[in-house]
Symmetry: C2
Subunit: 366 residues, 2 copies
């Protein structure tokens, strides 16, 4: 039903050959059978089901100039807030079904160290979202100057707590804490952020399935799928290569068979490279970095950047700015996410989804 | 305050000058001190030492057309065979030093299933290389139709054998065997091929150091460094996204701060994308895929492809062909590896190097 609702927004792009069409239908059918329940919530299929053999076409040697993409002058503003609400509503139903069936609910634990304003806002939103979905949530707040052992000890408690199915250590941690060591101590089965290197390796490697896909990249793919954007064979540029967004997004797009280029702070010609992209996902954290001149007409742009900037006119005293110079971009693109209200809400929805999936796995609940 | 910080970020950077130079010298000095011994053999530095903060330049918003790269008309044919011999000679000295100091030598175990001609050749070459370097080697050959348990049992024996520091399962395995399951059973400390997903995750993630870097990608970076090719900030294209070459090569190039694009069988305009690259590393396994028209004048090209083609005129009855149409490419590039004699010998040298490193780690030998 949701599929119908979102794909109607754009005319489906016709594939250039039969292979892709058949893969697409295989994915869809897998979707509607094997993963019946999770499919209600998340439309992106299991990664292993996407794996394809490397068969190079015989015309790879010929250069085909790509005709400029036709697109109507209608831009889609991808309403991440509304899509995330739909997903959260489905999660709420699933949590309720779980509670009725087996008397259990998923549980999420959050560890936050220090008083970073942005971290506290994110954490508060996550806890609130859990409450709304019927997911149990617990938070441990530690002071800025706490010792590593205190964090590890809080983590160990949650690792052992059978009512907790997801643990989240809010990043960034204060400088004196060893982030790698702390994240390594997190039980793999509860790594709902998907930041453990084993999860990352399984995300990267064909034939493997990570236990959890990091929330923001997963939310981005979900937005693309629900907006009817084809990923396979498309040129995608990811701006930024952080462990938490840029890297896993580039890996996930590759698992979906996009041709991915990763642009970062040391890239000499980011504008030129980005302008070749059909899909741009930007997570640089630099307000207005991506100008109109960086974008190919008809591109699809997802803006992960959320940079708080002082704004006395706002009630909160600040506003959030994305990486994309929105006013210029919106004139060119075929679809774009706003900031706020684009990718942000999806990150939280995916966190709830990962926590639900984790509890389902634990209870063998389908 | 945040606004102020943001402005400072934008103003602070002219990375083309001081910053990069200082990082480069930091890396060099690290090289010559901390990693004195391994540096004798391998020139590529530890990955964590390469990690840089994401500081976007204030001129990212301006488009600079990149002037065509000047290069003299002299092409360097990168002599992988000779470079690999140098490295193997250093490894031999180190093995000998280890034997004299502590009476131990590194040990490599190879498991090969079935009778694939190419696999048997690779394995034979690896065993021979071990012997020449003074590294102990053991091989278990299993029949094509062997059960998964037999492979797992051979693996378990080697995992427990304290004289073995590296284990290699020759890929590809016959279809009926679960490659993922088998590779997962391999002791992480002995995963000298670096194919375990935890190693792959640690290769991908900034701030992490894998226990082992996969041999072929490591050999490629070593060839670039020894040929004086700068990687940082360069546009690199990796052709092919296999778990064993394409994927780890793209991750490793990213750790070295190249701007990486990954081209694969479903890429619609591989020629156009590849032609933008300063560095091309191709591992498609498709003879002559990369024509002259795919290459930017002055590019550096590493050809990982080794496709056996029947050749009655050769003593062995076959010859190896690379992905690159060599005769066309050599007229354009600034440096190129031949096939054979380019990347191939480096893969074996890196396997020996990984095995030596593993034994050093085990014996705490520096």
């Amino acid at each position: 039903m949701m599929m119908a609702r979102y794909t109607m927004q754009r005319v489906a792009i016709s594939w250039q050959n039969g292979l892709i069409t058949s893969i697409a239908s295989a994915t869809r059918s897998l979707h509607t059978t094997k993963d019946r329940h999770s499919c209600k919530i998340i439309m992106s299929p299991p990664l292993v089901s996407l794996d394809l053999p490397d068969i190079w076409s015989s015309n790879s040697n010929q250069y085909h100039s790509i005709p400029p993409q036709k697109f109507s002058n209608e831009q889609i503003i991808i309403d991440g807030k509304s899509i995330a609400e739909d997903i959260r509503s489905s999660i709420t139903s699933e949590v309720s079904r779980m509670k009725e069936s087996i008397g259990k609910v998923p549980g999420l634990a959050v560890i936050v160290v220090g008083q970073r304003r942005d971290s506290l806002i994110y954490v508060r939103n996550k806890i609130k979202a859990c409450e709304e979905a019927g997911i149990k949530s617990v938070m441990t707040e530690l002071p800025d100057e706490c010792a590593e052992d205190e964090v590890l000890s809080a983590l160990a408690n949650f690792n052992e707590d059978s009512s907790i199915h997801g643990i989240l250590v809010q990043l960034p941690l204060p400088q004196h804490l060893d982030e790698g060591k702390i994240l390594n101590a997190l039980s793999l089965e509860k790594d709902v952020d998907g930041f453990h290197p084993l999860n990352m390796g399984n995300l990267a490697m064909r034939g493997r399935e990570p236990l959890f896909i990091p929330c923001t990249p997963k939310g981005c793919i979900e937005l693309l799928i629900r907006s009817g954007v084809e990923i396979i064979g498309k040129n995608a540029v990811v701006i930024g290569k952080s462990n938490i967004v840029g890297l896993p997004t580039s890996l996930l797009l590759q698992r979906h068979h996009a041709t991915v280029s990763i642009v970062h702070a040391l890239t000499k010609n980011p504008e030129q490279i980005t302008r070749e992209a059909d899909i741009v996902i930007t997570a640089a954290g630099v307000p207005n970095l991506v100008r109109g001149s960086w974008l190919k007409p008809g591109a699809v742009v997802l803006d992960v950047g959320t940079f708080p900037v002082d704004d006395p006119s706002s009630e909160s005293g600040y506003c959030l700015m994305g990486d994309v110079y929105y006013e210029e971009a919106v004139e060119l693109v075929s679809a774009i996410t706003p900031v706020p209200g684009g990718v942000g809400p999806m990150t939280i929805a995916m966190l709830l989804s990962n926590t639900l999936d984790s509890a389902k796995r634990k209870f063998d609940f389908t």
